[in-house]
């Protein structure tokens, strides 16, 4: 890859200049700052579209009352049942159970607090079933 092939696209790095190895005119490698490469932005965009699709479908399921709002927070923070179980120190089947609205609405305050701390929201938000933004979108 030569330096001249460096793209000028803002991409997904939000203006973060990353460095990569490129050949200069003498054929020697140099670390050159850039904003990422167009094809990378395409595939990253594709990955995010997939995640957003999942989040949207989870949102629908929560509003329809088929799953508890925990499902939304799990999906929005790109976790699955296994990872959520690890983070909260519970077994997977327990977490699976908590995805059922009937069970979730009867959770003890200390269990709710575990989830609230993990997702950086208030226990009250969980009780009221508010769908707040995922952690990586907090400013």
């Amino acid at each position: 890859m030569e330096i001249t092939e460096q793209p000028a696209d803002d991409g997904i790095t939000e203006g973060l200049k990353i460095v990569s190895y490129s050949l200069n005119s003498k054929g020697e490698y140099e670390l050159v700052p850039g904003l990422g490469w167009q094809p990378v932005n395409v595939v990253n965009h594709q990955a995010w579209q997939e995640i957003e699709k999942k989040i949207a479908s989870s949102r629908e399921q929560v509003t329809a009352g088929r799953v508890s709002c925990l499902h939304y927070y799990m999906t929005a923070n790109q976790m699955d049942i296994g990872l959520l179980a690890r983070y909260t120190g519970q077994s997977r089947w327990l977490v699976r159970l908590h995805l059922v609205p009937f069970v979730f609405s009867r959770l003890r305050p200390d269990t709710l607090k575990k989830y609230a701390d993990l997702f950086q929201v208030l226990p009250d938000d969980l009780v009221r079933g508010e769908l707040k933004t995922p952690i990586y979108q907090h400013s």
Partner: protein, 340 residues
């Protein structure tokens, strides 16, 4: 507990986190070394296609050695001592970090990217093997030299605890490390030869068909079947994933091939060896071939494929990468054998 920042820690931006941290820590100990050199000596190059390990439901494709491999190799160098510790208790982990900072020691940490607030949002995935160096504390914020960032950054203590105790695959469990002893000078010649030898063995000599050059060919075979086996949409996701692993931040582009070529070039300079310089150019050609594949794959993902850009054609492109790499590593293997 207010450690002042170590002003003498020089932050250098690098293309890959682990080799960047290794190089920055060695530099701090008075051994001038470039990132590419640390990558090569640490034998960081690799290829593996491991479909039984899933990332978000997609098969693992890796272009570099397992996380922690480079640091492990560096720690093994005679004369270098590295202190390493994992923790159960979060408070103890932070207390030990603070104690080291108080003693003016820059500390390497393994962290989960998802919890680092200074990362661009779109890159905050659950990836738990990101390395960085903490070198000071200002109030409740830690001063961090994150090798993929141009400047040092600040991170609140609460977030750093979460990042150090991220769960899931490759959980860091608070891992911290720093160099306690480093030799005056490194015997580069020996280290370069050993590093190249180790990479040749991984790329050519693996008995498993999923690893090294054989793994690249295996991926090519699988990739050709994706549209018929998975359907168009899933095949597109798989393809995008392969490219993402190859070109993601931290690869230096071309799935680490350019970074390794830079290492070969530097070694050629160091040892005054034209043969290595030729190998570097051959590897650059392999990297360019990977890039060509990425560009095509991106067009296919976007439904803007040019005529003839099919999965079969892309598999052929990957086979060409395999052929080019096999050629390079055979040459390097030969070179290693010639070296006493």
């Amino acid at each position: 507990m207010d450690a002042s920042p170590l002003t003498d820690f020089s932050h250098r931006q690098s293309a890959h986190c682990e080799s960047g941290v290794a190089a920055n820590l060695l530099n701090h100990k008075g051994i001038p070394i470039s990132e590419a050199m640390a990558f090569g000596i640490g034998a960081g190059l690799f290829f593996g296609y491991l479909p039984f390990i899933r990332i978000n439901g997609l098969p693992l494709v890796t272009y570099r050695a397992a996380a922690g491999h480079i640091l492990k190799q560096i720690a093994k160098i005679p004369g270098i001592n590295m202190y390493q510790k994992k923790f159960r208790d979060q408070n103890q982990a932070m207390a030990e970090l603070d104690a080291a900072l108080e003693a003016s020691i820059p500390v390497g940490l393994q962290t989960g990217v998802f919890w680092l607030p200074y990362f661009p949002r779109a890159l905050r995935f659950h990836f738990n093997a990101h390395n960085l160096v903490v070198y000071g504390k200002q109030g409740d914020d830690y001063l961090i030299s994150d090798p993929v960032f141009p400047e040092p950054v600040l991170c609140p203590a609460a977030d750093l605890v979460r990042a150090r105790f991220a769960s899931g695959a490759l959980a860091p469990r608070g891992k911290m490390y720093y160099l306690t002893k480093a030799p005056e000078v490194l015997d580069r010649r020996v280290l370069i030869i050993l590093g190249i030898k180790s990479v040749c063995r991984m790329m050519l000599g693996s008995p498993f068909p999923l690893i090294g050059v054989r793994g690249i060919r295996f991926l090519a075979g699988r990739l050709a079947q994706w549209p018929s086996r998975l359907g168009r949409e899933r095949a597109g996701l798989h393809l995008g994933h392969v490219v993402r692993m190859q070109e993601e931040i931290g690869t230096g582009g071309g799935g680490f091939r350019f970074m390794y070529a830079a290492f070969l070039q530097e070694s050629a300079e160091e040892l005054q060896d034209q043969y290595l310089r030729d190998c570097a150019s051959s590897l650059t050609a392999a990297g360019d071939s990977w890039r060509e594949f990425a560009a095509r794959a991106a067009r296919v993902c976007k439904d803007r494929a040019r005529p003839g850009e099919t999965y079969a054609a892309m598999a052929e492109q990957i086979r060409e990468c395999a052929a080019l790499e096999e050629n390079v590593f055979r040459k390097l293997e030969h070179w290693v054998k010639r070296c006493p």
